[in-house]
Amino acid sequence: MAGCVQAVAMASTGVSFTVSSSLSSTHACSVASEAAQAFVRADGGACKSSLRVLSSLSSSSKHSLKTFEGLRFSPLSAAAAVSEVKGLQMPAQGSEMGPRRTTSTTTVVTVYAGKSSPKLQGRKLRVAVVGGGPAGGCAAETLARGGVETFLIERKLDNAKPCGGAIPLCMVSEFDLPPEIIDRKVTKMKMISPSNVAVDVGRTLNDDEYIGMVRREVLDSFLRERAEKNGASIINGLFLRMEVPKDEESPYILHYTKFDGASKMGTPAVLEVDAVIGADGANSRVAKDIDAGEYDYAIAFQERIKIPEDKMEYYENLAEMYVGDDVSPDFYGWVFPKCDHVAVGTGTVINKPAIKKYQTATRNRAKDKIAGGKIIRVEAHPIPEHPRPRRASNRVALVGDAAGYVTKCSGEGIYFAAKSGRMCAEAIVQGSANGTRMVNESDLRVYLEKWDKKYWATYKVLDILQKVFYRSNPAREAFVEMCADDYVQKMTFDSYLYKVVVPGNPLDDIKLAFNTIGSLIRANALRKESQKITVG
């Protein structure tokens, strides 16, 4: 129905301009392009109203599961990676990728938000991206390509952030990651229940599908270097604090310590910019400076263990997930293969001080498979559980972990960080008309609205899964039992790898619902029985 696309343009008093679209069908896509062509570009007047069809339509229609290639240079993946920002559709100078066919069906029209975003005289819009992880790197790249003067501030250029390191397939194509970045392609997963029932997951994957395991230092530097090639300036410095301006025109003043090699401690420096993207992770200072509010977070604790060659073969392309009360009260323990060792870890929200106990339990559960190993590194990091109450304030927006975009149940954050960085940068580029105008909060809220609309369902579904299946040991047993089902595996992997929920066969869904309820009931019945029985 044509109702899928709504363009709400407030007339001459020019309030922010919102275009919302639904992801669901290609029918909506064709309707939307007709609607876009129907809008006339009006010259003069306080509010230039032309409409841009946002990429959520074009990219979702391209994410057809049957034709997805999974490799970087296929024409389909090039089309899928097309961004809506006009500047990005031309092959970038200096990039190694070469010309790409742009088969976008979007009609390119630009949005100007705000009635009087003043045109900047004699200079481009300056934006600082604080934090150089996936979110910061992708944001800086998109900004630089869009013609904005970009500064990326990163405190440690070789930082190996403690991380599971798993990226979905769609990230490889959407962000054009070269195959060298991926250390391992995990194609099998094992889920292990509290009573050690082990289920193999991954039978439904085809040959091109995998979960990529990356080293964070490699991924982050690749993204940052690509941003630099596109024109962003990388500053090696530690962001200290930010002075918020009193009016719409004055710049933000960022105080940071520059590590330029001259002195070991670094020299204090100051940077003036018009807008800031906070991509500095779970302990974000930018978030503190704009009073973004607190969030609940899990502590993820991980030990990197080097195990003997024959044991390493078992983990060649297999990752394990342990669930149980002993391993974590509300999360899971994992064994993920890295480049030449495994990472064994666990996490929890509600019982953080006892994390060492949970880590010991995880190691014990995997004892047979990691025997003979040596712990080479111990690391821990907070993982946000939900978004901060305030994600945008005046001309500052938060992306990635700083905003709290980590899914529950699986704790996945890399893809969402990179995607939110890109979306926020695109909103800034659009709102500033490629760096020629000042932006304001309504432009940043365009990004928030787009993000919430696109990914809210994903987050909510994972939240429900976590609440239902990580609740108690019987629920975890039922969870592992359900994972043995082929339909469940297919749905799970499809939604994880491509970030698109494909509606399955309704009959299968009903069967699945019955099986889930059956499993839960059986497991709970066994538990109640065990509480009655005392073993002598």
């Binding site: 292990i192 559960r365 109450p389 305030r390 066994l526 509480q531 029985i533 005392t534």
Partner: protein, 252 residues
């Protein structure tokens, strides 16, 4: 055996100029080397700062719960430490009927048919054992037993029917008493009561009440469930609530 490598530079150093903790690894380093400082008694004659609250550490913030709640939403007796471990010597679970990772159904026969109740009992014991003595998962001896092996009617007979009898009994008692009281009060007989909309509504409420509220704790549980299901939504909507407030204040 896993060996802890003390010499590895495993923690990020903190730049003391900034006095910032950038990751929580520093906190763990502190906990390994130095126990948490104990509170010392005040000195006589020197007043301590009134109402001074120490800011909680990162491990105490961000959703951490205290006491039994910290063990999870529905923790087992083993995690709460309420039951003693069955065996402290670290024996693995073993049972003559547990063969190659699954229950051998031929060992459970009674009158030439499988005694499903005994299978359920055996599985209950196995799970209880493992809760209290968690074992390493092993590739050479994988666990293959699935609860769906036990047929549905065995589950119904064992677990559903007794409870159903109880609930039906309660519903019948409540129904009879209410019907009697309403009849005594209004003179409306049972058949006429069930014809009225109000009567049907009360009947519905009674049935739902008997089904959902079986123990006193169920009331609190239901309320918690209702809160839980909307809490995550509220957290996501918080950023929009804020923008509405600023718009309103801008218009004033």
């Amino acid at each position: 055996m896993v060996v802890y490598n003390d010499n590895a530079n495993i923690f990020e150093t903190v730049n003391s100029e900034q006095n910032q903790k950038t990751t929580l690894t520093e906190y763990f380093q502190a906990n390994i080397d130095y126990p948490l400082a104990r509170e010392e008694p005040d000195t006589e004659g020197v007043a301590s700062v009134e109402g001074r609250k120490r800011k909680p550490s990162p491990l105490q913030r961000g959703g951490t719960l205290d006491g039994e709640q910290a063990e999870g939403k529905d923790p087992s007796a083993a995690t709460l430490g309420k039951s003693k471990p069955l065996v402290t010597s670290g024996d693995k679970f073993s049972d003559p009927r547990w063969i190659k990772g699954t229950w051998d159904l031929t060992k459970f026969t009674k009158d030439a048919k499988v005694d499903w109740d005994a299978v359920i009992n055996a599985e209950v014991l196995r799970r209880k054992w493992l809760e209290e003595n968690p074992e390493a998962s092993s590739n050479s001896e994988p666990v293959l037993f699935e609860t769906s092996t036990v047929p549905w009617w065995a589950w119904v007979k064992r677990f559903h029917l007794p409870e159903a009898e109880l609930l039906n009994g309660r519903a019948a008692m409540i129904g009879y008493i209410s019907a009697y009281l309403v009849d005594a009060a209004t003179g409306v007989g049972l058949v006429d009561q069930s014809n009225s909309f109000f009567g049907k509504l009360l009947l519905f409420i009674t049935v739902c009440g008997v089904l959902l509220i079986r123990k006193n704790s169920d009331i609190a549980n239901l309320r918690n469930l209702a809160n839980e299901s909307t809490f995550y939504d509220k957290q996501w909507q918080a950023t929009w609530k804020d923008s509405k407030d600023t718009e309103k204040s801008g218009e004033q």
